[in-house]
């Protein structure tokens, strides 16, 4: 019995550590996604992740690198597109995102050598995170968080008014590009936790929940991180006790916290 209990503890601890790392960075970054009204952009990026997974398997590298490669490339290309032939960026995102998801599913299904755990990638497989992956998740999260702290003021200025920020000496193009890259990296990390179809929820829901409690942008970012961590822990707990899938459990937890937040009166 004793040995069994340690085994259970260990995979649960790994899952919690991975989830917490992603939540800590997805919270404040998600606040920018909300302020910049880019929820759909984040969703589009995450839909492309499956193509990256398939690519990773085809090339025999860690799937997370394949995902990072595809999502970062997509972010770079899309950041330069403002609409094609009179179609808005919104429409273009809808086309590219679902085309990439479909292509990812086709490639994944046609690979003979490996059988992809599709459910795991679409809805997350946090309970299967290994120690090696955990290291990647923490490294990635730490890099993005450090970059976000460094770029916080210029990013906030650009979010308020891009032209004003440019006149005041900020390099708008560069900062926006780095923001896209951060977003792409977090999508790649969050995919492991809640899955491709639920990635945006890790960005949006904690940030939205934090709004009512926050008086400053920094507070909102911090509270969003905290809400994210609480969502991960409560989701894992519910998943463990009632044997429900962990990814959806985490998103459900976040949604409950968001609903609670709605009952509060905004402080600013």
């Amino acid at each position: 019995m004793g040995g069994n209990a340690t085994m259970v503890d260990e995979f649960l601890i790994r899952a919690a550590l991975a989830g917490v790392a992603v939540a800590l960075v997805a919270g404040p970054l998600g606040a920018f996604v909300v302020w910049r009204r880019m929820a759909y952009f984040g969703g589009a990026l995450s839909h492309m992740a499956l193509l990256g997974v398939a690519l990773g398997f085809l090339l025999g590298i860690q799937p997370i690198f394949g995902v990072a490669f595809v999502v970062v490339s997509a972010a770079l290309i899309l950041s330069g597109v403002h609409g094609v032939r009179g179609l808005s960026l919104d429409t273009m995102l809808g086309i590219v995102a679902h085309a990439a998801l479909a292509l990812g599913l086709i490639v994944a299904a046609s690979m003979d050598s490996v059988r992809l755990d599709l459910m795991g990638y679409l809805f997350g497989d946090i309970l299967a995170v290994g120690w090696d992956e955990l290291i990647w998740v923490w490294c990635g999260a730490a890099i993005v968080l450090a970059l976000l702290v460094k770029l916080w003021r210029p990013l906030l200025n650009i979010t308020v008014h891009a032209d004003l920020a440019a006149v005041e000496g900020h390099n708008v193009r560069r900062v926006e590009l780095l923001f896209m890259l951060m977003l792409a990296l977090v999508v790649a990390l969050a995919m492991k936790v809640v899955g491709i179809l639920l990635v945006t929820s890790m960005l949006i829901i904690p940030a939205a929940s934090a709004r009512a409690l926050a008086r400053t942008p920094e507070a909102m970012g911090g509270i969003a991180a905290l809400v994210g961590v609480m969502s991960v822990l409560s989701g894992l707990w519910v998943s463990y006790i009632y044997d429900v899938p962990a990814g959806p459990g985490i998103v459900a937890g976040a949604t409950v916290l968001f609903a609670l937040g709605l009952t509060l009166k905004p402080r600013l």
């Binding site: 200025n157 440019a166 940030a207």
Partner: protein, 258 residues
């Protein structure tokens, strides 16, 4: 002899295009230290494009824009669209532009001291313009660039704002470039008017401009005659889209945005 004030920005023969559409062509403007230059013209005349070229936000496809090295510009954009989800007080908004200043007195200077702790999304149109002006001034600029500074402000507020801009120029010696629709105020309070309709129709002292045939053609005899003593014939006409309809001669190879 008094030497001429330093040139802050010199725009020479600038053309600005978005894709195949040329919104501005052959525009030349000089802004000197301490003077108020006002851009007037109908909607879509290229006023904002000219301002953007002056600020370095858009690169002219032809012509040059030269800014004095080290020129400090305080910019007040036409509108601010901050998402309600961003908790940002007026104080914090000012701090983002210029850290470590006395924000209360900066707001008091523009008559908006009472909103310092308000959320940015809750201040009224007139207050917002003053807050943006305060942010521009906190940078201790040599030049203020104001894109329609009285937009969304009621009539009395408009007069107050223009008076405030006048005072700022007088007290701080800062040059001002502004885009405006309000011809009466422009004529009364400006050193140099540039009348724009894809090209520079006419430019000069307000009184001279208000008599200029192109100005009269743009704004109509009635408006022009309330501003100037008389009006006379002009050498070309603009259609509703601003295109020049008959041939005339002026500087540069200008296609009037066609």
């Amino acid at each position: 002899m008094v030497s001429a004030p330093a040139t802050l920005i010199e725009v020479h023969n600038a053309e600005v295009s978005y894709g195949a559409r040329t919104v501005l062509c052959g525009a030349s403007v000089t802004v000197r230290a301490g003077e108020i230059v006002t851009l007037i013209g109908p909607n879509g005349a290229g006023k904002t494009s000219l301002v953007r070229a002056m600020l370095g936000l858009v690169k002219p496809s032809r012509g040059t824009v030269v800014r004095k090295p080290g020129l400090r510009i305080g910019y007040m954009p036409q509108r601010l669209n901050i998402d309600p989800a961003l908790p940002l007080s007026v104080r914090r908004f000012l701090q983002l532009g210029a850290p470590g200043k006395d924000y209360q007195s900066a707001l008091d200077d523009v008559g908006a001291g009472h909103v310092v702790e308000h959320p940015m999304q809750n201040v009224s149109g007139g207050e917002l313009q003053r807050v943006m002006l305060a942010r521009a001034l906190l940078r201790e600029p040599d030049l203020l660039v104001l894109d329609e500074p009285v937009q969304g402000v009621d009539i009395t507020g408009q007069a107050e704002l223009y008076r405030l801009i006048q005072d700022i120029r007088k007290n701080r010696g800062v040059a001002v470039v502004m885009v405006s629709h309000d011809l009466h105020v422009v004529m009364a309070q400006t050193d140099h008017v540039i009348c724009l309709n894809h090209h520079v129709c006419c430019a000069g002292h307000p009184e001279a401009v208000s008599r200029h045939p192109e100005f009269v053609a743009l704004f109509g005899d009635e408006i022009a005659s309330t501003l100037a003593v008389y009006a006379h014939d002009h050498d070309h006409e603009h259609g509703l889209d601003g295109h020049v309809q008959d041939s005339h001669v002026h500087g540069g190879q200008c296609d009037h945005g066609g």
